[in-house]
C-alpha cells in the first residue's frame, strides 16, 4: 500500500467533506430554485393564459349576446322582409367586432315560392356590403353554420374556417337557431349568424411571449390550430395530426384533454430534437376552444443555471483556497514532526549530542518538541549513569570472579589425592553455581592413621557466604588436632564462628574421622543433610542425623560424636542439598529418592565413579536448567579385602 502523509490525508478528508458539502448545497439550491422558478413560470403561464382566455371570452360573449338578441327578435312573425334587412344592417353597423351577419330562413319559409332567403351584411373596405345568400351552387341549408344549430337545436360556434373571399382571413361563426309558432306549433325557422374575423385573435396571441421563445396557441373545438407561431399549422394541422406526424402519444393525450376543456400543466416529451418544454393549457368558456402556453424549460431555467454556475465557480475558488490553507496548516504541523522524526532516528543511532530542531510553536507540536528535549537530556544523564554503573559492576563482577577462583582454589582439587595410600579412596567435586555460593569440602590427615573428611554448606550466597566458608574451612583445618573427636572439633569451630557472627550466618557441617587401619569412623553432624552409607555389596542407607543444629549461631552448643565401622569396600557419600534440590526445567527437584535409587542400582561402586555418575545423572535430569546452588559431593571409600556376594 502506498504511504500517504498526514498532510495528504488531512487534505483529502477535509476537501472531500468540503466538496460534498458544496455539492449538496449547490444541488439543493438548484433543485429548490428550479422548483420556485417552475412554480413561478407555471403561475405566470396560468395568469397569461387566463387573462387571454377571458379577453377572448368577453369578445365571444359580446357577439353571442348580439346574435341571441336578433334570433329572439326573429321569432316575431310580423317582421317584414324590409324590417329584417334593416335590422341586419343596423346591428352590423353598431357592432364593430362583428365581421358579417346573416339571417337565413328555411326553404320557402317567408315566401312560398322562394327557396332561399338569407340576407347577409358584411364589412368590405370600411363599408357595409350586402348580398342574398343561396343559389344552386351554394345551398346554405347544407352548410355547417345552418345545419349544426338546426340539428342540435341550440346556438353554436362553428369550426373556424378560411374565408376565401375575404383575403384568406380565418373566420368563426356564431349561429343561433330561431323558431316561430305556426299553427300552434313551434317550428324551426332559420338561423342568425354572426361572423367574426380571428385576425385580432392572432395578433393578441402572438403578442404573448414567455421567456425568450415561449409562445401561445389556440385550438379549435376539434383540435385545429387557430393560431400558432408556425403559420403553416394554422387551419392545416390539428394537434392530433401533429402528434401523429411527430409520433408523440403524449401530445395526442394532451390534445384530448385540451379539446375537452381541461386545464393542466405538463412537461412535453422530447420530440424530434426539440428541447424540453412546458405546456400550460386551459379551455375557453365559449367556442369550445382551448389555449396552450408553451415555453422551453432551458430558457425558464436559464437564471437557475447561471446562478448554479456562479455558485459552482465560487465553490471551486473556495475549494482551492481551502486546499491551499489546509496544505499550509498540514505542512506547518508535519514539517516539525518530520524534523523531530529524523532527529529521533539520529538520536536512536546514538548521537545524543544532536541539536534538536528549534521548535517554538505553542501547541501540541511544541509540547512534543519539549518532551523530546527532556527525553534527550534524561537519556543522556541515564546513559552516563549507566556507563559508570556498568563499569563499577564489571569491576565488582571481575573481583567476585577472582574471589570465586580463590574460594575454589582453597579446596583440594587434585585427584587421586593420595595415590600412595591404598587403604582408602576419596573423591570430591564441587560444581559452583553462577552466583558465588558457600559450599565447602575438605579432607586431610590428622595424624598418620586418622583421616578427616568433611562437607559443609554455608547459609546464603554471595561474597559473605564465600568469606564465611573460607573462615569455616580454615578454622576446621586449624582446630582439628590429634585425638579430638569430630563433635569436639565442630563444637570448637561453632564457638569461634558464633563469637563474632553479627550477620547471623551459619553453616551445616558433616565431619568424619576414619581410622584407616581399622575402618572405625567417628563422625559429627551439625544440621547437615544425612550422608549415605553404602556397605560393600549391601543396600545403601542414610546415616541418620542427630538432630543437632547448624553451626555458627549458638556459641555454647556442644556437638556429639558417633562411631561406626566401615568394612573394606564400604563407601560413605556426603553431599550438599545442591544435589537433591537440583531442578529441571519444570521446577521439579532431583529428590532424595532419585539419589538413593541411583546408588542402590550401582554395580561395583567406586568413590570417583559414584561422584561422576551422580554428577552426570543430575546434568541429564536438569536438562540444561540453570543451576541455582553449588553442587558438592564427596565419596570416601574404605579399602581392604572385600567379600563380594
Amino acid at each position: 500500500m502506498k504511504r500517504h502523509g498526514i498532510a495528504f490525508k488531512l487534505a483529502l478528508l477535509i476537501l472531500s467533506c468540503a466538496f460534498i458539502i458544496v455539492a449538496v448545497i449547490m444541488g439543493y439550491n438548484y433543485y429548490y430554485s428550479r422548483g420556485i422558478i417552475l412554480q413561478q413560470a407555471q403561475t405566470n403561464a396560468k395568469s397569461v393564459a387566463h387573462e387571454t382566455t377571458s379577453r377572448i371570452d368577453s369578445v365571444l360573449s359580446g357577439v353571442q349576446k348580439v346574435a341571441n338578441n336578433i334570433a329572439l327578435s326573429m321569432e316575431d312573425a310580423s317582421l317584414t322582409k324590409e324590417d329584417i334587412l334593416e335590422l341586419n344592417k343596423r346591428v352590423l353597423a353598431n357592432n364593430p367586432e362583428i365581421y358579417g351577419m346573416a339571417i337565413a330562413f328555411e326553404p320557402y319559409f317567408l315566401e312560398s315560392d322562394k327557396l332561399y332567403f338569407a340576407p347577409y351584411h358584411y364589412r368590405s373596405g370600411g363599408r357595409i356590403g350586402f348580398s342574398m345568400l343561396g343559389d344552386p351552387a351554394y345551398r346554405y341549408f347544407y352548410m355547417d353554420w345552418y345545419q349544426v344549430p338546426k340539428e342540435l337545436e341550440r346556438a353554436v360556434w362553428t369550426e373556424p374556417y378560411n374565408d376565401e373571399g375575404g383575403g384568406n382571413i380565418i373566420m368563426a361563426t356564431y349561429t343561433v337557431p330561431f323558431y316561430r309558432t305556426m299553427d300552434g306549433k313551434k317550428v324551426f325557422a332559420g338561423v342568425v349568424t354572426a361572423d367574426i374575423s380571428l385576425e385580432w385573435l392572432e395578433d393578441m396571441i402572438s403578442d404573448i411571449k414567455l421567456f425568450k421563445t415561449g409562445y401561445a396557441f389556440l385550438l379549435s373545438r376539434h383540435g385545429t390550430f387557430i393560431t400558432h407561431p408556425t403559420r403553416d399549422y394554422i387551419m392545416n394541422e390539428t394537434i392530433f395530426s401533429l402528434a401523429e406526424e411527430l409520433g408523440s402519444s403524449q401530445l395526442r393525450e394532451i390534445g384530448r384533454k385540451m379539446v375537452e376543456g381541461d386545464r393542466g400543466f405538463t412537461q412535453l416529451d422530447k420530440t424530434r430534437g426539440a428541447e424540453d418544454r412546458y405546456l400550460y393549457y386551459t379551455g375557453l368558456e365559449y367556442g369550445g376552444w382551448a389555449l396552450g402556453v408553451l415555453f422551453p424549460k432551458g430558457e425558464m431555467l436559464a437564471d437557475v443555471h447561471r446562478l448554479s454556475w456562479i455558485m459552482g465557480l465560487i465553490g471551486l475558488c473556495g475549494f482551492f483556497v481551502l486546499a491551499l490553507v489546509i496544505i499550509y496548516i498540514a505542512r506547518r504541523i508535519t514539517h516539525p514532526l518530520t524534523e523531530l522524526s529524523s532527529a529521533a532516528l539520529e538520536i536512536a543511532s546514538g548521537n545524543l549530542d544532536l541539536k534538536l530542531p528549534e521548535i517554538t510553536s505553542r501547541d501540541e507540536v511544541g509540547d512534543l518538541a519539549e518532551s523530546f528535549r527532556v527525553m534527550n537530556t534524561s537519556l543522556k544523564t541515564y546513559i552516563e549513569n549507566l556507563t559508570s554503573t556498568t563499569a563499577a559492576k564489571e569491576r565488582i563482577e571481575s573481583e567476585l570472579r577472582i574471589a570465586r577462583e580463590i574460594q575454589m582454589g582453597i579446596l583440594p582439587k587434585l585427584f587421586p589425592a593420595f595415590p600412595e595410600r591404598e587403604e582408602f579412596e576419596v573423591y570430591a567435586s564441587i560444581e559452583p553455581a553462577k552466583e558465588v555460593g558457600g559450599d565447602l569440602y575438605d579432607f586431610f590427615f590428622i595424624d598418620d592413621t586418622h583421616f578427616c573428611f568433611l562437607v559443609g554448606d554455608v547459609s546464603g550466597k554471595g561474597v559473605p557466604a564465600a568469606f564465611f566458608m573460607a573462615v569455616t574451612k580454615t578454622l576446621l583445618k586449624v582446630v582439628s588436632e590429634r585425638g579430638m573427636d569430630p563433635g569436639d572439633i565442630i563444637t570448637k569451630v561453632n564457638g569461634d564462628l558464633a563469637a563474632e557472627n553479627e550477620s547471623c550466618m551459619f553453616v551445616t557441617l558433616f565431619l568424619a574421622i576414619i581410622d584407616i587401619e581399622t575402618g572405625e569412623t567417628r563422625y559429627a553432624n551439625a544440621g547437615h543433610n544425612p550422608p549415605i552409607f553404602m556397605p560393600c555389596g549391601g543396600t545403601p542407607k542414610w546415616i541418620p542425623p542427630f538432630g543437632e543444629p547448624v553451626a555458627g549461631i549458638m556459641d555454647m552448643m556442644e556437638y556429639s560424636t558417633k562411631t561406626m565401622t566401615m568394612a573394606p569396600g564400604d563407601i560413605m557419600f556426603i553431599y550438599t542439598d545442591g544435589v537433591t534440590e537440583a531442578m529441571n526445567q519444570e521446577q521439579k527437584l532431583y529428590s532424595d529418592e532419585r539419589l538413593m535409587e541411583l546408588l542402590t542400582n550401582m554395580k561395583e561402586p567406586f568413590a570417583p565413579k559414584v561422584v561422576k555418575a551422580i554428577d552426570e545423572s543430575i546434568k541429564v535430569f536438569a536438562e540444561g536448567a540453570e543451576q541455582s546452588d553449588d553442587i558438592t559431593m564427596l565419596a570416601m571409600q574404605f579399602m581392604g579385602k572385600c567379600d563380594k556376594k
Binding site: 351552387a137 341549408f141 347544407y142 352548410m143 355547417d144 345545419q147 349544426v148 340539428e151 342540435l152 353554436v156 362553428t158 369550426e159 378560411n162 376565401e164 384568406n168 373545438r221 376539434h222 383540435g223 385545429t224 387551419m235 392545416n236 394541422e237 390539428t238 394537434i239 392530433f240 395530426s241 401533429l242 401523429e244 406526424e245 395526442r252 390534445g255 384530448r256 379539446v259
Partner: protein, 322 residues
C-alpha cells in the same frame, strides 16, 4: 435551356414516331378533371405528371381539380375536360344521359363507409333504424340506400356537409366517410380508433369499385391510343407514388396549398397508404383494369334498386386494359 428543350423535343418526337407514326408531330394536348380537391386520392395522376410519365407517353395533360361546386361529369359533358375521374356508380348513372365509357379502373374496392361512435347506442347496423344518418348527395347515397333497403331500415337522412362537425357534436348518429379520408379526419380530431365503429359497405356485398377514368365514347373511339397511354402513364404514376411516399406527399401538399385547401402530412400519408390498399389488388394482374364481375355486380345492383333503368353491357362500357 433552349438547346435542352430541343433535344428533349427531338427525343420525344423520335419516341412518338416509333409509337404512333400518325401523330408524330407533337405532344397531344388533353385535360382531365378530378372528382375532388387536390389530395392523395389522386397521387398517381400527380406523380405521373411530376415525373413526366405523361409526356413520355406523348401527352400534354392539364389536370383540373374538382370540388364541392364542380361536377366532373359536367366537365365531360360541356367539353371543359376530355377525361374525368368518376366513381363506377357515377359513371353508370351518367351513362343514361351521357355517352361515356370507362377507359381505366384504379380503385378496385369501395372505401365508402358509415361511422358511428362506440359509446352511442348503435352497436349493429340494424340499430340505425329511426336515427339521423349523415349522407352525402348523389352517387354517395347509392350504396347507403341499397343497404338500408336490403336491411329494411328507415333512417332519417341528414345531408352531410363537407365537415364532420355535426357528427362530432352528436347531431347525427352516423356519418358518411371514406376510409382514406373522413375516417382519418376523425382520428386527427382526437377520436381514437377504439372509439369508432365503422361499417364498410364492402362488408355488406356492396364492394363497388370507385375511382376510374372516363371519357366520351367518341373520344375513346377516335383516340384509343391516347386513352391507352393515359391509363398506362397513370398506372406508372401510382406505382411511383407508392414507392416514393414522402416525395409524393410533398407533391400532394404543394398542390393542396396552391389550391388553398387545408393540408397536413399525417392525413395525406394515411390517404396514400389507403389508396395503395384499394388500388393494389391481389385479384387483378393489371393495374387500371375493370373486372367484368365487378362491373356486373354494380350494374345489377343499380338496376335492381331502380337507380338506372338500363345499362350497357361490359364491352360497350369498358374500353380499358384487360
Amino acid at each position: 435551356m433552349s438547346h435542352l428543350k430541343h433535344i428533349t423535343l427531338l427525343l420525344l418526337l423520335s419516341l412518338c414516331s416509333m409509337l404512333a407514326p400518325a401523330n408524330a408531330n407533337a405532344l397531344e394536348r388533353t385535360s382531365i378533371v378530378l372528382q375532388w380537391l387536390p389530395q392523395a386520392q389522386f397521387a398517381g395522376i400527380y406523380m405521373a405528371q411530376d415525373m413526366g410519365f405523361y409526356e413520355e407517353a406523348g401527352i400534354d395533360l392539364t389536370i383540373l381539380s374538382g370540388g364541392p361546386d364542380i361536377l366532373a361529369s359536367e366537365y365531360l359533358e360541356s367539353g371543359k375536360a376530355e377525361f374525368a375521374t368518376l366513381f363506377l356508380t357515377t359513371g353508370l348513372h351518367r351513362r343514361a344521359t351521357l355517352p361515356i365509357v370507362n377507359i381505366g379502373q384504379f380503385v378496385q374496392h369501395s372505401s365508402l363507409m358509415l361511422i358511428t361512435r362506440k359509446d352511442s347506442e348503435i352497436k349493429r347496423l340494424e340499430d340505425l333504424g329511426g336515427k339521423k344518418v349523415g349522407l352525402w348527395a348523389n352517387e354517395f347515397q347509392i350504396q347507403a340506400r341499397i343497404l338500408f333497403k336490403k336491411k329494411g331500415l328507415k333512417v332519417s337522412v341528414v345531408p352531410q356537409s363537407d365537415s364532420l362537425d355535426l357528427f362530432l357534436r352528436g347531431g347525427v348518429a352516423a356519418a358518411s366517410g371514406m376510409w382514406y379520408n373522413e375516417y382519418h379526419t376523425l382520428l386527427s380530431y382526437g377520436m381514437e380508433e377504439s372509439e369508432l365503429q365503422p361499417f364498410f359497405y364492402s362488408d355488406y356485398g356492396l364492394d363497388f369499385p370507385e375511382d376510374g377514368i372516363y371519357c366520351l365514347e367518341k373520344v375513346a373511339d377516335e383516340k384509343p391510343e391516347l386513352c391507352r397511354a393515359l391509363v398506362e402513364a397513370t398506372a406508372r404514376g401510382w406505382m411511383y407514388a407508392f414507392n416514393h411516399t414522402e416525395e409524393t406527399i410533398d407533391s400532394v401538399i404543394r398542390r393542396m396549398k396552391e389550391a388553398k385547401v387545408p393540408a397536413n402530412r399525417a392525413h395525406q400519408r394515411w390517404m396514400l397508404k389507403r389508396m395503395e390498399d384499394l388500388i393494389i389488388s391481389d385479384d387483378y394482374a393489371v393495374m387500371g383494369a375493370l373486372h367484368p364481375n365487378d362491373y356486373q355486380r354494380v350494374r345489377t345492383a343499380l338496376m335492381d334498386h331502380g337507380f338506372i333503368d338500363s345499362a350497357p353491357l361490359f364491352p360497350d362500357f369498358y374500353r380499358g386494359p384487360r
